[in-house]
């Protein structure tokens, strides 16, 4: 499943908003006021191929002007969540999805190493995407774990 087909269903968009709100309530509660709108912006911006366009700051940071210094966590987290969700739903079938959710929630599952490897790859991908000049690797690992766990909780409902 690509991002576009995921975002076509309004109920999925609502799930994404719920996941984003949960993730950001721990990481950056001050941004909760903007989360739903940022998700909507990404939904509008995704092209038919499922690519999410890069988000940039609105105004240039000139000394006297309306500066937009730094990036919001929301603009980093939202595309990560959309991509991760579409990847999980696209990779796992109904049976393996349940196992994947269990692995994410409860840790290592000795029965199916393949699923665990895929989840670790997804976790690694989130960590790389989340880390930038302001988010340390350690913090991005915590973000990756949190994102996966909240997605697993949402999918298990």
């Amino acid at each position: 499943m690509n991002s576009q087909s995921l975002l076509n269903d309004p109920s999925n968009v609502e799930s994404i908003k719920r996941i984003c709100n949960q993730v950001l309530s721990d990481i950056a509660p001050e941004e909760l006021i903007l989360v739903d709108q940022v998700v909507d912006i990404f939904v509008e911006a995704s092209d038919p191929n499922g690519n999410l366009k890069v988000v940039d700051s609105s105004y240039t940071d000139t000394p006297l002007g309306f500066g937009s210094n730094g990036e919001l966590y929301t603009t980093i987290i939202v595309p990560i969540i959309i991509n991760t969700l579409s990847k999980i739903l696209g990779t796992f079938s109904d049976v393996s999805l349940k196992q994947a959710i269990d692995i994410i929630k409860d840790g290592r599952d000795k029965k199916d190493l393949k699923i665990e490897i895929v989840i670790n790859e997804i976790r690694q991908e989130i960590t790389i995407k989340a880390s930038n000049s302001r988010v340390t690797k350690k913090k991005s690992k915590i973000i990756a774990d949190k994102v996966l766990r909240i997605i697993a909780n949402e999918l298990s409902k």
Binding site: A28, E30, E31, I33, L34, Q37, V38, I41, E44, A45, K53, V54, V55, D56, S57, S58, Y59, T60, D61, T62, P63, L64, G65, F66, G67, S68, N69, G70, E71, L72, Y73, T75, S133, R134
Partner: protein, 496 residues
């Protein structure tokens, strides 16, 4: 605890910004005038102040001319009407001139001086923003005009540039004297001084001014945010922080230099908009600046040898005090007050850190000199009226003749390099290259003239040696520049 709404009206933003502004442009030069001899005041107080004022007053005209700004009413009359219709605008005492910038970059800003104020908006901002967002941003800019932020931050910024420039120029002037030509050997032997110490001393003062200016920039943003939020409402105003969608990647230079920007981050601004009490987190920054100024000022009247002891004592005393306070609070189980106490003790500790920083810096260089000696050695001509006049002339000459001549020389020199794209493609990169590569040239020119000026016969061999060193430095800089450009290209390739 007070709610954010009730606290908002109580934060005396204007009082804070005006006090910091006055401390930079009035108290600092006054301190130099009172605490130091005339030469130091002229070089590091009067000249940066006058030149800063001059460039500050000239800046609006230069901006308008070089950015090709036009009257906004000719391009977007409806937008002008929209601005005039805003509630915030109707309360504005001095009405600004509206300008349009023909640029696709989204820019909205207020600028100007005490006499004339301007408001500029770019094509990119008009094209890419919603009407409501534009109104919020304009209200934010109107707040800057109301609060006088254009001059409160503009003037200190120019003063700061000139203060650093003077320090660099004097350091470069002193460099050949200090390291290559021991002209004042006897003087140095008597006093144990190094000619470089005065500009080094003023670098730390410049550092304090830099921090104070940064603090001003941050406060003015919080203040304008608070005003705009009161005018348009929180939910409406926070829309200005929403991202826009673009297909372009962020440029390396922008993302890297953002962290050096004076604007507070979006995240912090959102935090303070929703909980103004968090503004107290800025207090430690202010206290560090105060500590730096206090340490610097007191060192001027103290025996520098005792400065290290003072640094240790100040840190120790404040440390003990802060931990005692924490102890009392923890014992009484007033956990809810812990955050406030933490900020308070942080502030006190930061002030002590500032003082200690100033003390330790001065102790470090006090090994090279004595207070009276550096002043006497500054222009190496003694301490009387004639030498004061002489040094004033010297500096004036440096600014009016040598520097323009050097800039002209640079332009002639670097034109072929720019033409062949050796120095990079952006103007910023070219200017940076010129500064890094050719600054040693200033030393040579100035040295040559100073030798002749003072009637001292200079040694041709040493002169050529310096030219050789400068030439090698230019070559090394070119190589480094090319390596950086290569690295940047590779980075872009990898990103693609």
């Amino acid at each position: 605890m007070q709610t954010g709404q009730s606290l908002k009206g109580q934060i005396p933003y204007n009082l804070i910004t005006t006090s910091v502004f006055l401390s930079i442009v009035v108290v600092l030069p006054l301190f130099l005038l009172i605490a130091t001899p005339t030469y130091v005041f002229i070089t590091y107080g009067a000249i940066p102040l006058i030149c800063g004022l001059w460039t500050f007053l000239r800046e609006p005209d230069i901006q308008i001319k070089y950015r090709k700004m036009q009257p906004l009413s000719e391009k977007y009359p409806s937008l002008v009407e929209q601005i005039i219709g805003l509630k915030a605008y109707s309360d504005l005492r001095d009405q600004p001139e509206f300008l349009y910038i023909p640029s696709n970059t989204a820019e909205v800003f207020a600028f100007g001086t005490w006499r004339k104020k301007y408001f500029a908006i770019s094509e990119g901002a008009i094209a890419n923003s919603k009407s409501t967002t534009i109104s919020s941003v304009i209200t934010h800019e109107i707040a800057h005009l109301r609060n006088g932020d254009t001059w409160k931050t503009g003037f200190p910024t120019h003063f700061l540039y000139w203060l650093f420039l003077m320090s660099i120029l004097i350091a470069i002037r002193s460099f050949p004297y200090s390291l290559f030509f021991k002209i004042y050997d006897s003087y140095r032997a008597d006093n144990g001084i190094s000619d470089m110490v005065v500009p080094l001393l003023f670098f730390i003062l410049g550092f304090a001014v830099l921090l104070a200016t940064r603090f001003l920039y941050r406060m003015k943003e919080f203040s304008a945010d608070s005003f705009a939020q009161n005018c348009v409402g929180l939910t409406e105003y926070v829309q200005v922080f929403l991202p826009t969608i673009t297909t372009q990647n962020q440029s390396w230079s922008r993302s890297s230099f953002e962290s050096l920007g004076f604007h507070p981050s979006k995240r912090l601004r959102l935090q303070i908009l929703q909980e103004p009490l968090l503004l107290v987190n800025e207090l430690p920054n202010l206290m560090f600046i105060i500590g730096l100024f206090l340490g610097y000022a007191s060192c001027y009247r103290l025996d520098l040898d005792s400065s290290f002891a003072l640094a240790v004592i100040s840190e120790f005393t404040v440390g003990v005090l802060a931990s005692l306070l924490l102890q009392i609070i923890l014992n009484n189980e007033h956990i809810e007050k812990l955050v406030q106490i933490k900020i308070l003790s942080n502030s006190i500790l930061n002030m002590a850190n500032g003082m200690a920083f100033a003390f330790i810096f001065l102790v470090g260089i006090s090994n090279l000199m004595m207070y009276d000696a550096i002043i006497g050695s500054y222009f190496r001509r003694g301490d009387d009226l004639l030498s004061a006049l002489f040094s004033t002339l010297d500096i004036t000459l440096l600014i009016l003749i040598f520097i323009p001549a050097l800039i002209l020389g640079f332009v002639i020199l670097v034109r072929p390099l720019i033409h062949n794209k050796i120095l990079g493609e952006t103007v910023k990169s070219q200017i940076l290259f010129v500064l890094v590569a050719f600054l040693p040239g200033i030393a040579l020119f100035d040295f040559y003239i100073s030798q002749w000026w003072e009637g001292i016969q200079f040694e041709v061999g040493k002169f050529w040696f310096l030219i050789l060193i400068s030439g090698i430095w230019v070559l090394v800089t070119i190589v480094i520049w090319r390596l950086f450009a290569f690295q940047q290209r590779m980075r872009k390739k990898v990103e693609k």
